[in-house]
Subunit: 342 residues, 4 copies
């Protein structure tokens, strides 16, 4: 039976990416598209690249009848998301793509996001959506919190290494290079083409990026002690892609072994042979994540690099993968699209 899907926040990039992926998903049908600011418009007008699809028009969230909906993706800004989700039916399956339910500790949420959480009880209920590591919990969950796209990339590198105890915990450095679609469709001077094209820079330098809240929570949990990494994202003049370069202490071969063991059989994680490194151009538009390990010339030091598409594996693809699990559909359904190169 075809599952009926609603998408809230359908006028943003992650909303559009969900529609793109679901368009060829044989087990899902888009029943409602919510977007308060553009309610009344057709999706073809807001996103002409989806013009060939037979989609419902955008409506306000209030106008949606959730009674026939099997699962709702919520691609709204954080803070708005917790308010909207609080008001949805309590038995509705939800995959939230915002930051609102990623952190389990209300205090941590307030520290990183600057406002008290208004749905603390749901924070406890939510399952963290990093599929490969929370698969069983996600299958059983009602509310899944999609991870940050940078947070996902860093974790794909570091979780297996921390869990296996093959790297030092005191000197982990994560240098990220992110494409601009990660910033969303918001009108900011520094996101204009003329500002970004042909230039690049670091941002949120010094440990102020909010995805550190996720790193702190997850890495400390795995290690059984506080783990704090250094993390600097850089904005790159490309639309899609995250490349994470991790500098760690440890033996490259042991590290590669830990990654291969953890990701053995995973459909979307490709661990490269020792010495090979990934490129964002080789995962663009797809749900795949490539990870490579190289030994440094300095003994006992290694570089681990991961690449994924922030809108797909880092966000909407992850969300669909989780929704498949929650709806008892094959996990890879709708997600085996090959990357688009060149």
């Amino acid at each position: 039976m075809i599952k009926q899907i609603a998408i809230l926040g359908a006028s943003g990039y992650t909303g559009a990416e969900l529609v793109r992926l679901i368009a060829t998903h044989p087990g899902m049908e888009i029943a409602a598209l919510g977007a308060n600011s553009k309610a009344g418009q057709s999706m073809a007008r807001v996103f002409p690249h989806l013009r060939h699809l037979d989609l419902p028009d955008l409506v306000t969230i209030d106008e949606i009848d959730f009674s026939g909906i099997d699962l709702c993706f919520c691609a709204l800004p954080h803070k708005t998301s917790q308010e909207v989700i609080s008001a949805l039916p309590k038995d509705l399956k939800i995959v939230d793509l915002s930051a609102d339910f990623r952190l389990r500790d209300p205090e941590a949420y307030e520290t990183w996001y600057g406002n008290p959480h208004s749905a603390i009880e749901m924070q406890g209920e939510a399952v963290y959506g990093l599929t490969e590591f929370y698969r069983d919990e996600i299958k059983a969950a009602r509310l899944v919190a999609g991870t940050g796209c940078n947070a996902a990339t860093g974790q794909y590198i570091l979780r297996p290494l921390i869990a296996a105890g093959v790297i030092g915990l005191e000197d982990i450095i994560l240098d990220l290079k992110c494409g601009v679609s990660g910033a969303g469709r918001s009108l900011k001077e520094n996101l204009l083409h003329a500002e970004l094209s042909e230039g690049y820079h670091a941002y949120a330098v010094g440990g102020t990026h909010r995805h550190l809240g996720e790193f702190d929570q997850e890495f400390s949990k795995i290690a059984g002690r506080e783990v704090k990494i250094q993390f600097t994202p850089h904005l790159i003049p490309a639309n899609r892609g995250i490349l994470a370069t991790a500098y760690v202490s440890g033996e490259a071969e042991t590290i590669l072994g830990a990654l291969m063991a953890d990701y053995d059989g995973e459909p979307f994680i490709e661990v490269l042979p020792l010495g090979e490194v990934p490129s964002t151009r080789h995962i663009r538009g797809s749900n795949f994540c490539h990870i490579g390990v190289v030994a440094d010339r300095i003994e006992g030091r290694a570089i681990v690099i991961a690449a994924l598409d922030n809108l797909t594996k880092g966000s909407s693809g992850q969300a669909l993968q989780n929704a498949n699990l929650m709806l008892n559909i094959q996990e890879t359904e709708g997600l085996m699209l090959a990357p688009v190169f060149p």
Copy 2:
């Protein structure tokens, strides 16, 4: 039954694009990948974005056993293509993506390509691969000649207008803007990133582009008299996409009517409402073609604009669409992927 597919010239961009599309095609399996210059390498090495697929290694064309192959895509350079195809089994179904079998007249071939044709009898046998206009012939064909990517774009605009007699034939101007992947993976100084990025220019100016051979052949045939258009392509710093701007004499509404009539029911051609214009970003990575019509301020003049992806609808997507027809598979199979935006 799954059809067995061979791809010759698998180390080029159109070869890779064929693999990308067939990767999620339920009715086809890639049985052989030929690429003389890179024989012996794995596809993952030549195209790391296809790393997740279970593909045969690249081999020389001579090494391929064609006995179990249902259809062969030939994505070789022109001239090479006619030589290779001449030597293939005479009952093998072939979709050729080169220029070698596009022109019916051996003299026209020699004029535009500079060498005599070495397989003139097959030139006569080949069917021109512009699906929407040669569908029945393609279904019955053994050898289909894929069109030039620029030639396809221009014809999607002009064929219905010439056929319906709604535009003047003496003053047709076609100004094209092409992404760089159309030039292939060849090592030329003017295709380097540092040369192309942030700049753009016209090339083959003055009526010297080879795709004019196709325009001349097809438009004259439709009109029943000689039709010669002006055609200038421009190279744009983007990887994929062709945007064709046609300047014609005629009434915009009549022109739109002719397009809508011809493309009614076509799965991949989207005719936009009067006054709307397409963008290459809205068809990127897909098999769709968007066409828009606008009336000029000068009475009796109109602008018709089409956008498609040169590697998909302009080349490998078209080839797969034709292969589906030749193999009695549903025409749209494997081709309904939504465009990738942003």
Copy 3:
């Protein structure tokens, strides 16, 4: 003696480009920078690339003392510009970069810009700033109206040809390809990097672009009769550059002759040998304009292509060239910077 310069609208791209050019101009000093919306900020904050310069802070226009100013560049939006300029001292030399004083006919202004002109008497006083064609008037002028950047490019191709009577006037088609900085630093969804990068499209199709007002005025004046051209601009994913492709009836060699005659001795206009075409990458960041002529395969038809940098020769470079003339400085001073390639 060093001339004292004020720039109003210094927080936009054309304002920043003026500062860049004047930075190495030996005969000018920037005495005041006006920008109401960012008043109080340092220029280094608004434009960090100018950080090495010793510049006055941004102030409101009201705060500027014009008594010691020799010349004022006005880089404000149209409509604002006419209001601000009306209130400036009546003997102040002004180069206006907005559209407000380009059209001599108040009715034509209202038609193209949608509001009545509020400084009609100054409209009459203003000299049109296309340096090569209004040099003597500019030298004597108090108020010079900078041309539209697209309008400049089209006129560099067509003025000599219309004046010499070497092309037909009924079928002139101008297809433009523009970089995104021409749209300015305004916050619009369609100017975001994620929207523009890797895609391109036509805009203001059908004869609705405001620069047509300039074409109509100037070409009709030269021809001594009404001349209306077809003009379609396209937005290209590059920051700087305009490439104009003109399709005309006429003999290529005669056309080239007319261009060479008119531009003989011009320091910034480079007419290429017959058959060569320009590229925007070869004029980027400079005040040069390259023009090439090619005969079409259709007898009596030719293509003429021009390239210039919209921010330099199309706007701020032109403005400085005119200011040099108005201040009796050598015309090329500060403007001989070579293009930046790659």
Copy 4:
């Protein structure tokens, strides 16, 4: 008196950049342009962006009469450079832009470059061309070895910090992001626009990049002990620019103090206020280097980021700055061009 300049290797990007800079230099004149592979061609043909200049045609190096030459820039590939320079007049002033004379130790040269040095005595004579730190030696030198562009960027960050003893020496990590023009105008598949655009990746991972030879030599010399850093360059889809992110142990304010002390009065090095970070878009096309310092959330850790243009401050601009010193011209002459933004 105008100095007569020769440029060998004038058909590459650094050669063209030298011509661009010298074009507006009042104290230099280009007397000879050598480029064996393109000898006989005009510079306008090889680099149309220099078309407006009155330049000598390209000749073979053998054809150049060095008797009237005051200084020769050598922009040839390494290995070729040492052979050519060995054969030049022994009293000719030379600025070499290749890697051939950067390393003082012949063994280190052979280790990093794979071939024995053929001009070992000149290796000893050569002065390392990092202007701010070898100014006096450069003034007196006959042969100056331009630094690697990545090597320059890293040293601008780290030299003052190592010299002042304000950072730990055991855990220095340098993550670089480089534009593609650094790879030169060579025909490699991975430098094609279609390969690079919209994608990015690390290369020479694990401590294999040749510029490490320079880091090792210089940092160990300053520290008086062996210093080995970790260094990973990444290729970014932009034409110009290097952004270096250094992760160090030390106090941010102390680090900033050391940088400000060392660069006080330097015309081209801009140290930003604490907490601000540079962007490559703000130095593009110029000889400026911006450096910013940020404290990490982890006590005792800091991030220092530098940006410069690889073709200007990282190569040809540096070379011209050194040539000015060697010819007793004002150091900043020809180099105060403001960055090109947007």
